[in-house]
Symmetry: C2
């Protein structure tokens, strides 16, 4: 890559972020724990003013237009409702004509692709830094569209998500730096000593469309947006129509940074739509759009996977996350770890466990075998303990984003009792949110379901629910868990066993099913926590998505290489 | 990656090839000239015996079954005809049931994916070494199915092609080594000091189908086969039904090497078919087949690009390669370079130039401007000089592989004279091959075509033909050349100009069109020569294909990463 930029401010920016980029590259290569950010909202870290200012910035947005000054504005739309207040946010966003956004992106790319890749990466790192700076505002935005708790919105949708974006930048840097910009090549052909100058130019693939999910919008959007920008492409960000605000803030910050450094802000635009008039397909069909990153429902993801041809498609949808409990040296800790992870964000995460397999002989514990019914009771009690403490429940469970999840629970409450052999150990019920009395909350339903009723436990239920299923033995449990992973997709699988031989003979089945596996996790870290730079997220080997956050494959095809060569001047 | 293999022979093989792999990685990173092979068939290099033995080995194949001892054999087919002798080779090959090949490949992959990636790469390097050892046999095989001259078959389908394969291995090594096999990760969560052991496992994507072209089968097959094997996948090789023998030799060697080192030979099998009963789709439709590498016609390539979803598809087809001649300091050398490259293998190469754009004011030369008609006459004379010297013609042009190319020429000979403004400067005609009087030969037709008749010069003609087209000026020529590249695809573009400002303002249009550009090439190296490790082949930015030989993108998605993690034992 060229080491000089025509823009001194850009050069300074590259220098300012060089250390962060080097550390990020080291982190993805070693997989050690690292982050340039603090993921706690504690005032000890951030001071007393920032939380207040962030909340005020969020509140100042309510009931107004969110002006992005982007091209082709047709009208203003927006109908977000807070899961905490059940009140409309009242914010409207510019809806632009797809043609106008594509034309603007193309125009911007004509210059952008000539900007030194190192400068493009530095601009993305600057966007990340500013987004971190505005993370208290972002936390409130995510809370009030997605329903995440304040703490989770701050960390999971803030630093943890920004880290995923920087991780993608690290891979983009690695992949682009791998292409030497030039060589003087020399080879004899017969009596001729041929010397050629060769230049290798990185050329962006084409406009990237980033389709964001409703429940955790920033986490996948940052990697996609940054990977596209770093490799010379533009990014058109299409938020879910019920979760626009966080992405509007992202687009706003990105456009500000671009403009400030003399770049065309139309490299990043917002493609707002409404549930009645979805707009994604218009972009997908446009020949100038060459890259689609999608996060969302398995149903729509599968449609995209079946219909998009001749373009790059990166998907993360969801799957069925299972837990196999063969044995444990601390049943209380195991039960707590599972119950807490199933309570986190009311199981609205792509890593939330749903189905727990218990061998018929019971889970081996120091106190003797623990059968499926006992295990289910213990899980139910642990969820009760969270639900009955409103402050704890609020911090862990947050709110339910969509009525759809409430309907899933209602249906289960009606149908499950009619199924032979099903025992409901814990009914789903709201908890009382201490700050938001109108919050749409729901705590998990816990049921023991016979292994024969796979139509119940072997389908992803996008709602707080835990099924406990008894299997003949632990090997059958692993067989079921891994075959479900292969068929239905999975993002995180969990296994508890103190039997090394059992673990040893099980892990390969998980690998073959493309299931990332957490074994015997207890304690303070959520078992479904995925750390950027260290934990690969989604394997691409089962229906839960084809893209991994992040690896070389996530970035290597977003740019192409064009060369030219000519006779070298002989000295 | 694990550094130990259970197999001492494999360990020794890894050590034996480590230097070659390290040199290949250095070569792709620096883009310097390098090869572990000699690409001349000279007896000074290889001795007197090997050429004789290679020819004898080829001849011993004729009229017999080529037994690969692969599973699921249904019958024996094969109807190859030598373009040099016009006689059938009489070789038949085992036709296996697709299901049987897929099942065998799946079975073999179950073990193969656990073999140390370094050992998998070493096995591929060993295959390459043995194929180089048998390259005289291969040269005759390629000659008598594809029509390449002996010298070209030896070099272009031998070492030059093997180098492309080793280049893919270098990238596979880089991409896989980029994934650390393990880390002990440590991060505080609240008061907990969490330490996790993490393991990262490379998991192959799925069976690779390698669809080979008829005219240059080994060149793209080696990279695809080796990239698949290195990343833990199996390769099912589907040769073109008129060019089976070279791929049968490749599969034979691969199976021998695998078996010799205790691996399942069914990792590489041959999927022979006939023109009447094509078999590729059966493999494409099989869920176990996850990777398709295709080299062949733009028509079939486009069908694959439009219809294959949810699988990895790498294509190289063809396009329209143009020459723009603005000015030259040596008109004779320029004319010769173009005429020779258009004569090489009778223009049956994906890098052969077809359409030459000349500004209306003429090409600026030291002797004054040279108009399109003069330029065309000079090119025609240069082709005459080759065609009239049978030994030279035989070495350069070889034979015409398919009757289809003869028909293209016949059609052009009939239709061109009826087009207004077309001047045929040189009629296409056979040359007399000195060794093979029955050889199907054809020397290039050279015609000046008005710029308005784009339906003639702007379509790829898979036959020896050169169109010279006059444009208003050189900038218009570049505009036409690059817009055709974008629309129709191109693999190699050529530009001649002594005007640095003109070159400077032209190169970006070529880059944007995804056209690899050779500027002012004269002399002993064929201007359409593409050197492995240095020249990227196909950009993926225009319809000539989506895959580049070779870059990280060619390998990075052929494997996926699965992780597991568990609490680290605290010391």
């Amino acid at each position: 890559m060229a080491t000089h930029s025509p823009n001194p401010a850009l050069e300074a920016l590259v220098a300012a972020h060089a250390g962060t980029l080097a550390d990020a590259i080291k982190a993805v290569e070693t997989r050690n724990s690292w982050s340039p950010f603090a993921d706690s909202p504690s005032t000890k870290i951030h001071g007393a003013e920032k939380p207040v200012a962030g909340k005020a910035a969020f509140e100042a947005r309510l009931g107004r237009r969110f002006d992005l000054q982007q091209p082709g504005i047709v009208d203003w739309v927006g109908a977000e409702t807070s899961p905490f207040t059940r009140q409309p946010l009242g914010i409207t966003y510019p809806r632009s004509a797809p043609d106008a956004l594509v034309a603007a992106a193309q125009g911007a790319m004509a210059t952008w692709r000539h900007v030194d890749p190192e400068a493009r990466i530095a601009l993305c790192l600057e966007m990340a830094r500013r987004l971190y700076d505005r993370n208290f505002e972002m936390a409130h935005a995510v809370m009030h569209v997605a329903g995440q708790s304040y703490v989770q919105a701050f960390s999971g949708s803030g630093p943890n998500a920004l880290d995923r974006g920087i991780e993608a930048l690290a891979y983009a840097a690695k992949a682009m730096r791998d292409v030497t910009p030039r060589v003087q090549w020399r080879r004899p052909f017969g009596r001729d000593d041929v010397r050629l100058e060769k230049r290798y130019t990185l050329v962006p693939r084409g406009i990237g469309l980033v389709i964001c999910c409703a429940s955790f919008p920033t986490w996948n959007a940052y990697p996609a947006i940054f990977a596209n920008l770093a490799t010379g492409n533009a990014a058109i960000v299409k938020p879910h129509p019920i979760a626009i605000l966080p992405m509007a803030i992202v687009v706003d910050v990105a456009r500000q940074v671009l403009a400030e450094y003399g770049q065309n802000p139309d490299l990043v635009t917002l493609a707002v739509d409404t549930p009645d008039a979805p707009v994604a397909q218009a972009f997908i069909d446009d020949p100038a759009v060459q890259i689609i990153d999608f996060t969302g429902s398995p149903r729509y993801g599968a449609v995209l996977e079946r219909t998009i041809v001749g373009k790059l498609l990166f998907t993360e949808t969801a799957g069925l996350n299972s837990v196999v409990v063969e044995s444990t040296d601390d049943a209380t800790a195991t039960v707590r770890a599972i119950a807490r992870s199933a309570s986190l964000f009311s199981a609205q995460m792509c890593t939330s466990p749903q189905t727990i397999f218990i061998p018929a002989g019971g889970v081996r514990t120091p106190a003797g075998p623990m059968g499926a019914m006992d295990f289910a009771r213990a899980v139910a009690a642990e969820i009760d303990a969270i639900a009955d403490d409103p402050a704890t429940a609020a911090g862990i469970m947050g709110a339910i984003q969509g009525e759809v999840s409430i309907k899933v629970i209602e249906t289960l409450r009606q149908t499950l009792p009619q199924q032979p052999g099903v025992s409901i150990l814990r009914d789903a019920r709201p908890y009382a949110h201490p700050d938001h009395p109108d919050a749409r909350t729901m705590t998990a339903l816990v049921a023991v379901v016979p292994a024969a009723l796979s139509h119940i436990y072997a389908e992803e239920q996008f709602a707080p629910v835990l099924f406990i299923v008894e299997t003949a033995d632990a090997d059958e449990a692993v067989g079921l868990a891994t075959s479900l992973a292969k068929e239905k997709g999975t993002i995180s699988a969990y296994l508890y066993s103190t039997d090394e031989a059992f673990v040893e003979r099980s892990v390969d089945a998980y690998a073959a099913a493309g299931a990332n596996l957490s074994i015997n996790l207890h304690g303070a870290m959520w078992i479904n926590f995925a750390a950027a730079y260290s934990d690969y997220h989604v394997t691409g080997l089962n229906p839960a998505g084809n893209a991994c956050l992040a690896d070389l494959a996530f970035v290597a095809s977003r740019f192409r290489i064009v060369q030219r060569r000519w006779p070298a001047a002989v000295a």
